[in-house]
């Protein structure tokens, strides 16, 4: 081929034109941003609809979108302020997460309202930025556990519960199943975890509890993305644990559940973190997944009034379309919960600053003064769906109770009551970790 500059330029332009035109032929995404007159409250969305984490990312992204859509269509926005949003694809990749954050943080009438990274890695990167850019982060049940200490992490919230609370609740649950915490002595617990900041979160708590209760803890790391776990499960066979805990995400979950079924491990002794307990994790494993348990801090299914509202207002009653968009699945419901927290924080902020578009700083105040009582949840159609939440200046976690749900082959059922965390163990750990972060980064904790 003759190398000719003109040819090269022409071909490049032709390729670009082809791309653009092929893009133009695709259907336009009508829902992603609503153009509305007057005031708008902009919610950035860091999503991952592609890559190895897509099975977990798609229901989450759909849930957020549908809840915002619901508030716009049913209530006409938050006290008359329309919600707008824009998605940015991160592939659960921290580097793309930074790019997305920078792209979205100044959009909308008053900049981004708050960020929900839905990735512990991205959350870690955004935590220092939050205070500088004055945009709060709500990492709901993920991210840095010690962000629960609001004195150090003024701009970061992780209610309604954290990994450490959950880990302690798991141990409590195992104790109750074994017939008392004293029966834990000599038991063997294996922790299968995603080898990242996320997966490592529970280790310190589980180790501490192992010291206290005398169980044996074996840590088995699974490297990103977790499609290959043969050696991990061979080790589990050799170790033959009494219980397995799993901190997995994305494609790793279904692989682990399949492997557990393949080695014939009793599934009711296999408990996943709340990020390892959704439909997309268990369905691929088929019959083998029956009996598998996972933590949760909200209910699943579609019978709740809020989900019926979504069905009615967003999908016009079209059940098939709603199901195709993961309606009623665990992770979809989780995004509904998160969307509700976001909207209610804005509403709380509006109560103080006026019914208009609120800035990140004002939203931070809203988050810190969020008080979702039983009555308020009932109004929102979420009574019994989630636990009431009350955030304070010092406590950005609030409560921290979880329950265990179990897969019966077709749906998730609650398998326990709400289990409160071992706060007297977890809270001092949180404060110690927050203090060391403050020291390392030269932060003076504020008085609360």
């Amino acid at each position: 081929m003759k190398i000719n500059l003109k040819n090269i330029i022409w071909i490049t332009m032709a390729v670009l034109a082809l791309v653009l035109s092929s893009g133009g032929c695709e259907k336009k995404d009508g829902g992603s941003k609503q153009a509305g007159g007057g005031q708008e409250q902009f919610f950035p969305m860091l999503v991952y609809r592609t890559g190895p984490y897509a099975p977990s990312g798609i229901p989450v992204a759909n849930g957020f979108r549908d809840y915002y859509d619901l508030v716009n269509k049913r209530d006409g926005g938050i006290n008359g302020v329309k919600i707008t949003w824009e998605e940015c694809e991160t592939e659960y990749n921290t580097k793309l997460g930074v790019e997305c954050y920078e792209r979205l943080k100044n959009k909308g009438d008053n900049g981004a309202t708050l960020f929900n990274p839905f990735s512990t890695g991205i959350t870690y990167q955004l935590i220092p930025k939050a205070a500088v850019d004055k945009i709060p982060i709500h990492s709901m049940g993920y991210g840095r556990t010690s962000a629960a200490d609001g004195r150090v992490f003024e701009w970061v919230f992780n209610f309604p519960t954290t990994y450490w609370s959950q880990a302690s609740a798991f141990v409590k649950y195992v104790g109750s199943q074994e017939g008392g915490m004293d029966k834990l002595k000599g038991k063997k617990i294996a922790l299968v975890y995603h080898n990242s900041a996320y997966g490592k979160e529970p280790i310190a708590t589980l180790e501490k509890l192992a010291e206290q209760h005398g169980y044996d803890l074996k840590q088995l790391a699974v490297d990103h993305p977790g499609q290959e776990q043969k050696s991990t499960w061979l080790q589990i066979r050799q170790y033959s644990p009494d219980w397995i805990f799993m901190w997995g995400w994305g494609v790793m979950n279904q692989v682990a559940i399949k492997e557990a079924a393949a080695i014939g491990f009793p599934m009711d002794r296999f408990i996943g973190v709340w990020w390892s307990g959704s439909e997309s994790d268990v369905v691929p494993a088929g019959e083998g997944a029956k009996g598998y348990k996972a933590g949760a801090f909200h209910a699943s299914g579609g019978e709740w009034p809020v989900l019926q509202d979504v069905l009615k207002h967003v999908y016009n009653g079209d059940m098939e379309k709603a199901r195709a968009n993961n309606w009623g699945e665990v992770l979809y419901n989780r995004a509904i919960v998160n969307g509700m927290y976001n909207v209610e924080s804005v509403r709380t902020a509006q109560a103080k600053f006026g019914n208009r578009t609120v800035k990140g700083e004002e939203v931070r105040w809203g988050l810190e003064n969020l008080n979702l009582t039983q009555e308020r949840l009932k109004e929102l159609g979420m009574d019994g769906f989630v636990q009431p939440v009350k955030i304070t200046c010092a406590d950005h976690e609030s409560g921290g109770s979880v329950f265990i749900q179990q897969w019966d082959g077709s749906k998730w059922n609650p398998a326990s009551e709400w289990i409160s965390p071992i706060s007297e163990l977890v809270r001092p750990m949180i404060e110690a970790d927050a203090a060391s972060y403050a020291k390392e980064n030269g932060i003076t904790p504020r008085g609360c």
Partner: protein, 358 residues
Amino acid sequence: MIYREAGNYKTTYAADQAIFTLQLDRVFMTMVMVLAFLVVPLWANEYWLQAVLIPFLIFSLAAIGLNLLTGYAGQLSLGTGGFMAVGAYSTYKLTTAFPDLNILLVFLLAGFFAALVGIVFGLPSLRIKGFYLAVATLAAQFFILWLFNKVGWFYNNNSSGNITAPPRELFGLVVTGAAAKAQVRYLLSLGILTLFALFAKNIVRGRIGRSWMAIRDMDIAAEIIGIRPLHTKLLAFALSSFYCGVAGAMSVFLWLGSAETEAFSIFISFQVLFMVIVGGLGSILGSILGAAFITLLPILLTNVPLLVGLRIPIDLQKHIEQIVFGGLIVFFLIVEPHGLARLWQIMKEKLRRWPFPY
């Protein structure tokens, strides 16, 4: 016509040895520098600096590092990510242990540690070549990341295994961490890259670079004319790892702010290798062009539909981006297997003959 040697007389040895012997080149380079150092920080917004330009500068540095090793000394390496991780983690350890130490000095020390690790993993290169060496360096990549993930000491035993850049000052300005202005971080990255690129350019033009190229082109012949493979190859590994280590330190401290080992995965090693291949093996300019191609093009492709007002579903957009990106890599490698640097050279030749080509 536009770009030619005529009228440029070299009257001193220094003029003859200059990097840019032509007046036109010097003017052009000065303009680029003025643009990069003065215009860009004033004009660019935070998105451009933080998400586009800073990663480009950092990966340029890493690509120069790998190009020294692969392009000039002919040693194929897949350990770039690992060496970058060594730089990042040593910077973290050093600056948390000695908070008062000048951060630039810490970067250099971190590069020094990376160089040591590079030498250790470069030892097999004395016995094995080509793809087999690539596999040996792959071991470095996996071992280093495993080590940093496994041993809590490297990340000060925090619960997540994440390293976070603490705020550090230089000349009274905060340069690292989230509190640092994007402009400051950009200028610091650019300054480091400029100095390191200049240094690399001079290394490869001199005795060391020539001995590397001799080893690359035929190691037995090189040995016969008196080049010691042990010294030459290990020096290439050391310098290359030094560059990669500094790039890794910068990527955490000047760009990401916080990272785990995943940020230096095998994917990064491949990416830097692609930069070197697409940009041009054995060319400093090629490393920078390659880094621009690999880091900037996906961002451009993501933003093009938004700029022209198209609303494509985000997953489809990502897939299109990947297809186009892959297609363009193949395209450029077909039209110019010697990389973008060669294209630049061809362009200069064309300009020389224009408008009377023959």
